[in-house]
């Protein structure tokens, strides 16, 4: 019995290692190829390392697109969405968690339609709206549709409900108004939910491509993903995978490093964001 159990344990560990290895392989090779001399594709010579380590791929990738602008736009996009979302979802989350009003269920249902019909699917209609608003080819166009978040409302409604109402009552007796109650009770006690929401929001908008591609034209207001797309379209495919991998790493590095630093937090956040 004991022997069988330890055998099972060892084989589970081996399977874990193999699966992790397979999953990690693309990243490892992307890094290796990005530092490999252009004249030495992996089909020639050592498959892992070239004869020297070179930065020429990074230099040429950097020359293709205005990456500083793309970084700036992505940051504005991600932060601009998140800050406004925090406000809108806190307000609506509180209303649905703690207030009784006519049409509450129906209004919540309307908002939840956003989960069933994702914004990303309604490309052409939203594109028309953005143009009518005169926001085409601006950073506002990237952010605007994402300022309301049904997912965030749902998450905070659940979180706020679990906070003892007695705290709010006590604060009211002390004469606190709504915004003081939010700032001193609800928001501080819901930090894990806010962190979870932030991480999910940041990573999904960091990676957004179709929508930004459609509503912008000027390179300076386009995010990193669109820059990477340009790099791919201009790379003479086959010969310059080193340059493409370098560009890919430029784009993915911040999120990957953030994830390595806050791994537990990320995993817990993503998990708690869904289950409730």
């Amino acid at each position: 019995m004991n022997k069988r159990r330890s055998l099972a344990r060892i084989s589970a560990t081996v399977i874990t290692m193999i699966a992790s290895g397979v999953w990690l392989l693309p990243l490892i090779f992307a890094v290796l190829v990005s530092f490999r001399p252009r004249a030495e594709p992996i089909s020639v010579g050592n498959i892992f390392f070239g004869s020297t380590i070179t930065f020429e791929n990074y230099a040429s990738a950097l020359a293709v697109a205005p990456w500083a602008w793309h970084y700036f736009t992505t940051l504005i996009f991600v932060v601009g969405v998140l800050v406004v979302q925090f406000i809108t979802v806190s307000m609506a989350g509180y209303a649905f968690a703690r207030l009784k009003f006519f049409g509450r269920g129906f209004l919540l249902f309307l908002i939840l339609l956003q989960i069933m019909i994702p914004t990303a699917v309604l490309l052409v209609q939203n594109f028309a709206t953005i143009r009518e608003l005169g926001l085409f080819d601006t950073r506002w166009a990237l952010m605007l549709p994402y300022w309301g978040s049904a997912f965030g409302v749902l998450l905070l409604r659940q979180t706020f409900r679990d906070i003892p109402y007695e705290l709010e009552e006590a604060a009211r007796i002390d004469g606190a108004n709504w915004s003081q109650i939010m700032r001193n009770i609800y928001i501080p006690l819901s930090i894990p939910s806010y962190v979870a929401f932030a991480l999910v929001s940041i990573s999904s908008h960091w990676n957004e491509f179709l929508w930004p591609f459609i509503v912008t034209r000027t390179e300076e207001v386009r995010p990193l993903t669109v820059g990477l797309n340009k790099l791919y379209q201009t790379s003479d495919v086959g010969a310059v995978y080193g340059q493409l991998m370098a560009g890919t790493i430029i784009v993915i590095a911040p999120l990957v490093i953030l994830f390595i630093l806050f791994q537990r937090r990320f995993i817990e956040s993503f998990a708690s964001s869904g289950i409730k």
Binding site: A8, I47, G148, N229, V256
Partner: protein
């Protein structure tokens, strides 16, 4: 106190009949920003999509749109029409892509979660390796795989050739390309689904296992009798998001041959994206969007009905 009682208690104080107008309007004020945004970017566009799918936009920008009934839909399913020549194929691809991703990635995610839900050395490394693809932009992930799958200088073919095998033209062979796209999606999303299973596993009370052990259950019995039944809600959730995701996961095609060869790797949302630049085809874009939304809703509702009923059976 049950949750319901708490909810009643907490809302009671706000339901005083003589409340001031300001207090009565307050909830609507709080909900308004989210509601307005959802109406402007989800509900109205969805309604407009349905209406506009019955019109065509004439070549001249000054002419009004022309009502054509269901003609746009008929064209989509007409193999001799330029827009319809690949449409059925692309819908088929989309369903195949969604089904295969989900059928492989979800069980794999459960397996990974079971493997990681133990005390193992090097946990941080294993967890990182399995989860990081979920954080990559699709277009970046696809760029990496475009290199791995590359016919001449790609990693996979280089390895195959070093063993004396013939390389496979992964992204150029019409019979292979969709599978290559599916493999990438499985690689990217399994880790994401895994964390929901990890959370689900951690929510199972330890006493259930202790009780099972007292009854003499072995590891396999514990898995089948305790773990899996208690993960049903998690599975429902994962299936819903997995399907919803699968129909939206198309950006990778931008660097994986843009639906080629011959539309064999194309997916519905990407085809919509490709059709947008020509304004006079917007009638088709709207009709295709309606079909995509209907498919999405059908999958979500089916999942809920199926799982809710299964639960009532017990």
């Amino acid at each position: 106190m049950t949750a319901q009682q708490t909810a009643q208690r907490t809302t009671r104080t706000d339901h005083i009949p003589g409340k001031s107008l300001r207090a009565r309007l307050f909830p609507y004020l709080l909900v308004a920003p989210t509601l307005i945004l959802v109406i402007a970017f989800t509900i109205l566009p969805a309604i407009h999509t349905v209406i506009d799918s019955l019109y065509t936009i004439p070549r001249s920008a000054t002419d009004p749109p022309e009502y054509v009934g269901l003609q746009n839909y008929a064209d989509l399913f007409n193999p001799n029409h330029f827009i319809g020549s690949n449409f059925v194929l692309i819908v088929g691809n989309t369903l195949l892509f969604a089904f295969n991703t989900v059928i492989i990635a979800v069980p794999l995610a459960l397996l990974f979660a079971l493997l990681l839900n133990r005390r193992v050395r090097g946990m941080a490394v294993w967890r990182f390796s399995l989860f990081y693809p979920a954080l990559l932009p699709l277009i970046g992930a696809a760029s990496i795989w475009a290199f791995l799958f590359s016919d001449q200088v790609g990693l996979i073919n280089t390895v195959l050739r070093s063993f004396g095998q013939r390389g496979i033209n992964w992204l150029g062979d019409p019979n292979v390309v969709l599978w290559a796209v599916i493999v990438i999606n499985i690689w990217k999303q399994t880790g994401y689904f895994m964390i929901f299973y990890l959370a689900g596993l951690q929510n199972i009370p330890k006493d259930y296992y202790e009780a099972a052990e007292l009854d003499g259950a072995n590891e396999r019995q514990k898995l089948i009798r305790v773990t899996l039944p208690l993960l049903r809600r998690t599975t429902l959730f994962v299936l819903v998001i997995a399907f919803t995701f699968a129909f939206q996961t198309v950006e990778q095609l931008q660097v994986l041959g843009q639906g080629d060869p011959g539309g064999r790797s194309n997916l519905l949302l990407y085809y919509i994206f490709q059709t947008i630049p020509e304004r006079r085809n917007w009638g088709y874009v709207n009709a295709m969007t309606v079909i995509l939304v209907l498919i999405l809703l059908a999958f979500t509702i089916t999942n809920f009905v199926f799982f809710e009923r299964r639960q009532e059976d017990e």
